[in-house]
Subunit: 351 residues, 2 copies
């Protein structure tokens, strides 16, 4: 009854979202700060005017404001360069369905976002991973010709490592690839560079963003893609007609309109990230310099899995990740200063 | 770059959702009443507690309440029999991706929901329509063997006709079909029967519902499927991890908890529907008896397209539909009594 690729595949398992019990939750890169008060006000206004009508299928209000916001980064951008989605996961699904046929191949780095593998499996396609080099860039294997290659994903900053490939290097990867390149910038707001500018130069570059992390809106589900209009025009065919609801469109628009709040909370997270990285190193962890809102680390003497479990028992959730054939470690989200202090205190008693 | 089926296809065009200008909007089967006040209260509570965390991936709160609500209709139902989606369109996409491979065949009645054709095209599959018989049931052509047949959709009540195939007849169709049958019950709350009970008897029957129409929540995007747990378990693999947001889960749960409000508004719509049907006939329209929140009609002497345009010019939006090779007509949503009176007054001056 089901397609064989569906029956055979394992479903994607998102990071633990415990209900009921209170954890210090540093496992899914949520923002410790509440969203801008302007978001709540906008949602309240929509509730007041009623929910009985369908939302704007194209989320026009958001696209207009986002085009304005990015006008210095993307020369020539208009609302037609933007596609909104029910979280950036929705966008990743749309691009996969648009470009990848069963039997096709999707390429992405290892280690990176595990979901790409699931997207390939649902589509009946194959995944191919290319290991990062020791400097966290990607070599020629990432752009190697393969007649079945239909899509490449590059999370940048990458998860779980928090590393960034510089835009000029990404431009070269995109130019060498025989297929579209999705630059998944879920964490770009915490980095010093991004690849938005490449979109204007190469129609095969699609940048995806989410409001889940840097705008504290994981619960709202809102993400978007930036690409040239002739690309967006095709992607629109593949999305569900009303993929964003009225509340999320209003909330997301209000969120990007409050850039002062955004900058303040982002700067606080970056400051805590730097402090946390230093403190973890002081406790004997090997940490990679991160440009995201999490830190990837391994302790010199303790097993990562054991530390994950000890922390969980102590009420602190972090993410233990194990990439077969590559290695394992802990991905710890940057929380508030108080959460960071608590984490460090607990770890101090364990290592 | 794009898959050939995507480039070749036309995108689905949803009913007009005009922004800015005020219409009496009777074109997309929205509910004229606001949603239950309990929905707004629940959304307010979620806003208050914050949106920075991811939602419950499985919308457990809703599934628990829905299983309770349907326990008399579906023997043995538990939350595991329910899958929530970002509108029932999300559910229709999930089942299509789960069962249909490129080159496969999807079968559905003509005239019915145009989106099924789009779902097939995105998947690279073919559509086959089977005309309704003169009594609005479906004959053996609907269940005929075809080795490429992978999925059948039956909207029940059907759109645009508002007609219903009785559950015992649907059971026979499902038993005779070589593939799963999706009974799309978007409008079932306005009908005298439904097919929920068939789910317990046949694992290949999947019933889909939406809160857009009968719960006045088109703007919230929330729908769900009811099927046996071993079916739901596979469908979960295909959905986006966090396909429903925190606000919609809370709002939808509050909506189905307020059955008194639901019954009151539904009964009002059914009463207006009966009155509107009689009045349209009095104006010379041929109307089919409807079990949904809209009426399908054609005037004996006037062209449907002309009436659509005249009504639009007069500030009243209805849906003009033309099914190639089958026929055309107007699908008019049942609004409030005031909206209905205005529609009838305008039509009275036109026909």
């Amino acid at each position: 009854m089901f397609r064989p690729n569906i029956t055979a595949m394992q479903g994607y398992v998102p990071g633990e979202q415990p209900r009921g019990m209170e954890f210090v939750k540093l496992n899914t890169n949520e923002n410790p700060f509440p969203c801008s008060p302007a978001v709540k006000a906008a949602i309240g206004r929509v509730c007041q005017s009623g929910l009985q009508r369908y939302p704007d299928p194209m989320a026009t209000a958001f696209r207009e404001r986002a085009a304005e916001l990015f006008k210095h980064e993307v020369p020539g951008i208009t609302p037609d360069w933007i596609l909104c989605g029910n979280g950036s996961d929705d966008i990743l699904t749309i691009v996969t369905r648009s470009f990848v046929a069963p039997g096709g191949l999707i390429r992405f780095p290892r280690p990176s976002y595990i979901l790409y593998n699931t997207l390939a499996a649902i589509q009946g396609a194959e995944s191919e991973t290319v290991d990062f080099k020791s400097d966290w860039t990607l070599g020629s294997a990432f752009t190697a010709a393969n007649e079945r290659l239909q899509l490449a994903f590059l999370p940048n900053p990458n998860s779980p490592t928090g590393t960034v490939i510089a835009p000029d290097k990404v431009a070269k990867l995109a130019a060498a690839l025989p297929c579209p390149l999705i630059v998944d910038e879920a964490y770009a707001d915490f980095a010093t560079t991004n690849c938005l500018g490449l979109v204007a130069e190469n129609e095969r570059v699609i940048v995806t963003r989410t409001l889940s992390k840097s705008y504290s809106l994981a619960g709202l589900r809102f993400g978007f893609a930036v690409a040239q209009p002739q690309i967006i025009e095709q992607l629109i065919k593949v999305k569900d007609s009303y993929n964003c609801d009225s509340l999320s469109i209003a909330g997301a628009t209000a969120a990007i309109d409050d850039q002062a709040y955004f900058a303040k909370t982002r700067d606080a997270i970056i400051a805590t990230r730097e402090r946390m990285t230093g403190a973890l190193r002081g406790l004997g962890f090997e940490c990679i310099d991160s440009q995201a809102n999490f830190v990837w680390c391994r302790h010199g003497k303790r097993e990562s899995r054991d530390l994950y479990q000890q922390l969980k028992d102590a009420g602190v959730l972090v993410r233990y990740m194990n990439y077969a054939g590559w290695g394992e470690g802990l991905r710890i989200s940057v929380g508030s200063d108080e959460q960071c202090d608590l984490l460090l205190a607990k770890l101090g008693g364990m290592v």
